[in-house]
Symmetry: C2
Subunit: 277 residues, 2 copies
């Protein structure tokens, strides 16, 4: 029976819930058996835990999660015989057109324009098409290249989308460019990162038939077996396979983040741990 | 005596010179003892050499030079106890103002604006100032952080400047924030990369007194011993040291490139080797 006449709160307020979620790590149980009346103690317990996490990290593991994942994937694909590419992030608007993304296409409304000639790349494909062309007469068959780097898309907010995200895209042109190899490359990587996935056949405006790699309801990657009509815009006349994956989405799945913001380049979290302590 | 009446060219045409320079590696001698009449042979000899270089590289070392240098520097500074940061590349224009860069400052005319609120970061300092603030009450003294990533400045062309370049910036706040440690950190790194340098005391609008690290006439870095007036715009009240270095400039010196374009993210060169073969 309640001796004092303070009314015991039945549930947490939404602000309290938000604060607790901000401080919680994925899968962590709320201390003090989740008692609404104990919010103050719960909050300070979680703040102390997070402070310790930061001290630990500062002492033992000072690598940033996106950069670390980029290093893991680059190493993995260099070892698989793919050559590492770094193409410009500012691209000509023509390149977007050469991807077959005309004004009525959804993606064209997502572009960050810099001026009437340039924009921030919404994907890595334009740069990679050019490198396939550059290397076509130089490197022995098959030509295997990849890039990891920032891409930009205007997105109506959501827990699965970022306006600045990091894309990994690999492609192979010439012999071995078939569906089986494509899926093998993807399987090699996702096994290496131990991320589960399903394969769903889909299609999209740019490439037509695509293979989507999903984890639950989250798309991890779209993959394509060429040739496709826009190849000729790039002077590519050999068959190819390729796939684009979002690193923040891989991290979201790997660490069980509820919102992709925890995997993003933001000031609110470091390696998924709230800085609001 | 010249039996046929073909007039022997005295010197290479400027187009021929440009083509030869494009194909030459730094320090490489022009084959056929540099004979203008032998341009065709010289060109095909150099093209074959570059093709072999690419085949070698594709077989043995598929790492891209900027990415590789980034990995080397990140590893080096993580091992020195610095925590790796990745901050957004699109920043608020306010952040540029909080750097004390007002409209009549040279740097303000170099900004790539996205809209009236956002621009591409011209430097890493704004993000790092925020992270020093984020970590100030969380991490034990001293707070040591660094970032490597793209920066954007409109530049009148030149052999030392790129509009999209890669900056490395480290800073230390709290104890040990003195000139001697600053120069030690820089010396550690440049020794590790075996790049020679000189120290020149300079000053700039943003920070006032700066220490420039130069190699010949090329500025490799500007370094600062805080505190400086703009600290208060960021809520920073402890002393600090920091320095920004351009990766493409480090590569230019390391490999003896005549033009920084060879170190840049362009389609004309891969790891300093012309793709125009
Ligand atoms: N805004 C975004 N934020 C984070 N990752 C993204 C974003 N857009 C795309 N990606 C990642 O890039 C991969 C390849 O890009 P693609 O163009 O196929 O995305 P998409 O089909 O538009 O994805 P979605 O349907 O989720 O918007 C996606 O599978 C996803 O992993
Ligand atoms: N446009 C550029 N292209 C490549 N590297 C650059 C460029 N601007 C600056 N850097 C590199 O970033 C470092 C720190 O930036 P800082 O603002 O001090 O450059 P800066 O003083 O404007 O250099 P400069 O006088 O050569 O233009 C420089 O020492 C240089 O190594
Ligand atoms: Mg989308
Ligand atoms: Mg898709
Ligand atoms: Mg300058
Ligand atoms: Mg300078």
């Amino acid at each position: 029976d309640k001796t004092d006449n303070k009314i015991e709160p039945e549930t947490f307020t939404s602000a309290q819930k938000e604060r607790i979620n901000e401080l919680l790590l994925p899968g962590e149980k709320i201390p003090f058996s989740n008692e609404p009346s104990k919010f103050k103690e719960i909050e300070s317990e979680l703040v102390n835990k997070r402070r310790n996490d930061f001290k630990q990290m500062y002492e033992n593991d000072r690598e940033e999660q996106i950069a670390k994942l980029e290093r893991t994937i680059s190493q993995f694909f260099v070892d698989k015989g793919f050559i590492e590419i770094k193409a410009p992030i500012i691209i000509d608007i023509d390149s977007v057109k050469k991807m077959g993304i005309d004004t009525d296409h959804k993606l064209s409304k997502q572009i960050f324009y810099l001026d009437n000639k340039h924009c921030l790349r919404p994907m890595l494909a334009p740069g990679l098409y050019q490198w396939l062309k550059n290397f076509d007469k130089i490197l022995p068959d098959p030509i295997k290249i990849f890039e990891i780097g920032p891409c930009y898309r205007k997105e109506s907010e959501g827990s699965q989308h970022l306006e600045e995200f990091t894309m990994f895209n690999f492609c192979q042109m010439g012999s071995g460019a078939n569906r089986e190899n494509l899926l093998n490359h993807i399987d090699d990587l996702l096994k290496h990162l131990n991320i589960d996935y399903k394969i769903i056949d889909d299609n999209c405006h740019v490439y037509g038939e695509t293979i989507d790699i999903v984890h639950g309801d989250l798309e991890l990657s779209s993959a394509v077996v060429g040739p496709v009509p826009i190849d000729m815009n790039w002077g590519i006349d050999k068959t190819w396979i390729g796939a684009g994956l979002g690193l923040e989405r891989l991290l979201k799945v790997k660490h069980g983040y509820k919102n992709i913001k925890r995997a993003s380049k933001s000031h609110s979290y470091y390696n998924g741990i709230s800085t609001n302590l």
